[in-house]
């Protein structure tokens, strides 16, 4: 329990540092976020008004403190009926998109998670089964081709493979749409249809890592004494591998899987550009391009949170599965 508490405190501290750094770095940008909301003609008076309304007239650390305060108490911009409310927990408000950052993330998250989760399931299945097959049939053609394929997968940049996929399956064969996203709630079939290509591309590439990992672990486990004992007892090979082998292999695989899910936002930036989908990655790149500071900070925090949280969960799971890691 003490471990959990310390880690939670650490997580919050880490997030605070990351948000502070984000604020400081983006505050130094030469672009004035208020000028973008100033309208035309942008007289100095109007600029000052817009800046004061959005809170950009204060020094950056003051802005940062207001941001932190908003998480607990909510925020309120302007006055009267036209004032903008951002209820607690307020992680900033985008004046460009006229929505609180948390809502924007909520709006866009289905796109990114649709891509990521579908691909993750595929690559986990593909990677682990390829790895197990390679380990069991060690040295055979299956093993060698699986490993060659996985090395290729590790080496190919996702955007290159994605582009080739679009060219081949989208344009030349006209089998799948060349880009865009349809919400699941709108049409499950179209949703699936638009996601097939990105899923396959990401799954093929990421499965490589898992195949290698699984193979290595499996070989190691199969050499352990208890497997030999199990075999000696006359258990069938399938049971030996399924019950005893795979179980022990899955611990490191799950670890890597958790960390991979945590960093999915970084990859989303590129994937969403290639497949022209409007998910969290696209939101982030747009925000950077338009100096939408609240979105940048909110998204940075969210991305960092995912990573740190995944780390935390992995540690917990690891501790539970492997008694050697006790604290």
């Amino acid at each position: 329990m003490k471990f959990v508490t310390t880690r939670l405190v650490g997580m919050v501290g880490t997030l605070a540092v990351i948000s502070l750094l984000t604020y400081a770095v983006f505050y130094l940008l030469p672009a004035d976020p208020a000028r973008l909301s100033c309208g035309r003609p942008c007289t100095p008076d109007r600029l000052a008004e817009a800046s004061a309304f959005m809170g950009y007239d204060k020094p950056w650390f003051q802005q940062y403190l207001n941001f932190l305060g908003g998480i607990f108490t909510g925020r309120h911009f302007g006055s009267g009926q036209a004032a903008v409310d951002c209820a607690a927990p307020c992680f900033g408000y985008s004046f460009r998109l006229n929505e609180p950052v948390t809502q924007l993330i909520g709006d866009r998250a289905p796109v990114t998670f649709s891509i990521a989760i579908g691909a993750a399931v595929l690559w986990l299945l593909l990677g682990v089964s390829a790895g197990v097959a390679a380990a069991v049939k060690r040295g055979t053609l299956i093993d060698r081709s699986a490993m060659v394929f996985s090395t290729i997968g590790v080496s190919a940049p996702s955007y290159l493979v994605g582009l080739l996929g679009i060219l081949l399956f989208g344009f030349t064969l006209d089998m799948v749409p060349v880009g865009g996203y349809v919400p699941l709630t709108e049409s499950p079939v179209d949703w699936l249809w638009h996601l097939v290509l990105p899923w396959c591309v990401l799954a093929l590439l990421s499965a490589a890592v898992y195949a290698r990992l699984t193979r290595g672990q499996m070989i190691e486990v199969l050499g352990e004494d208890y497997i030999r004992t199990a075999r000696a007892k006359g258990l069938r090979e399938r049971r030996v591998i399924g019950r005893h082998g795979l179980r022990n292999v899955l611990i490191p695989v799950v670890t890597v899987f958790g960390l991979d899910l945590g960093t999915l936002l970084g990859g989303a930036v590129i994937t969403e550009k290639v497949f022209s989908m409007q998910g969290l990655g696209a939101l982030l790149i747009d925000a950077v391009g338009t100096v939408d500071l609240p979105v940048i900070v909110g998204m940075t925090l969210f991305a960092a949170f995912l990573v740190i949280f995944a780390n935390f969960v992995v540690d917990l799971v690891y501790g539970a599965l492997d008694p050697r890691v006790s604290r």
Binding site: T14, I18, A31, L160, L164, V274, L284, A304
Partner: protein, 293 residues
């Protein structure tokens, strides 16, 4: 430990192929100006005569001819062969330098954290957590905009991806250092009163060398990929310095009209990354008896 390598490494055909490819690309990078001079081109000169009126290359395969071996770049008519061979320079320069930087920091941080432990280790581990949590891509974009025009962009990219790239190495080295601490020969040396400087240099470092070598080989393709991804997004090495990632990014919209524009830099980037991965695999197998075949 290292004595046994060459033979085991040479026995691995894939690793050898990877190594040879790396050497070939290294030579291409070093002699890029010579190679393009041989062709009679350079990566900067426009050749509008090689283009149709609308900016698309004239002729088949994106304008492949005796004059332009890989065809030309749409809209500019610059020689694609020269761009690809010069692009190897950018990739290798950034890849090697950023790897060196992150290995240096990572090894230093990992070995000291593992050795000293205590609050120093805790602070360092926290910093590593922060860095892992950073969406560094966003930062690179922002930092590129803040940096003064005079600051060389290539150096900036090396610094940024190098500085974000060390935590992984540091974690591994820290773990190995902590494991070494328990080993008899280290315990003995400590008992004999060896100072930390001596211990780190004479006892720990030599035992970490193979890990460091393998990690370096495995980090280089990651760094080359990171530079390419940045250039792909338009925030990497600024034009006209050739960079594979940027050319691939530009080829994005031309993929239907002029697919060869994508193929040449794409294949080059893929081959180099693949070569490093194959070589790194072989190296790891050769150095680590557990994964040997």
């Amino acid at each position: 430990m290292l004595v046994d390598d060459p033979r085991r490494l040479l026995a691995d055909r894939w690793a050898v192929a990877g190594g040879v490819t790396i050497v070939v690309f290294l030579l291409i990078a070093v002699f890029a100006p010579l190679l393009s001079a041989l062709e009679g081109q350079d990566p900067y000169t426009y050749d509008l005569k090689a283009l149709a009126d609308n900016g698309a290359p004239l002729g088949a395969g994106g304008g492949i001819s005796a004059e332009h071996w890989f065809g030309v770049e749409p809209m500019t008519g610059r020689d694609l062969f020269a761009i690809v061979v010069h692009g190897a320079r950018t990739s290798f320069l950034v890849g090697f330098a950023a790897t060196a930087l992150s290995m240096l920091i990572g090894v230093l941080a990992g070995i000291t954290a593992g050795y000293f432990g205590g609050w120093y280790d805790r602070v360092l581990s926290r910093i590593i957590d922060v860095l892992f949590g950073f969406p560094w891509l966003v930062f690179v974009i922002a930092i590129g905009a803040i940096a003064p025009a005079g600051f060389p962009k290539q150096l900036l990219i090396i610094l940024v991806i190098g500085l974000f790239g060390w935590p992984g190495v540091a974690r591994v080295i820290r773990g190995q250092t902590m494991a070494l601490k328990q080993r008899t020969f280290v315990v003995a040396a400590t008992a004999l009163g060896a100072g930390p400087g001596h211990l780190l240099r004479r006892q720990y470092l030599p035992n970490l060398v193979s890990t460091i070598i393998v990690y370096t080989t495995m980090t280089i393709p990651g760094m080359i990929g990171a530079e390419a991804a940045l250039s792909f997004l338009g925030v990497g090495v600024p034009p006209p310095t050739p960079a594979w990632g940027r050319t691939i990014g530009e080829a994005l919209s031309w993929v239907q009209t002029d697919p060869m524009f994508l193929v040449f830099p794409g294949v080059a980037l893929f081959l180099v990354t693949l070569a490093f991965n194959l070589f790194g695999d072989g190296l790891r197998d050769a150095l680590d008896p557990r994964t040997a075949k």
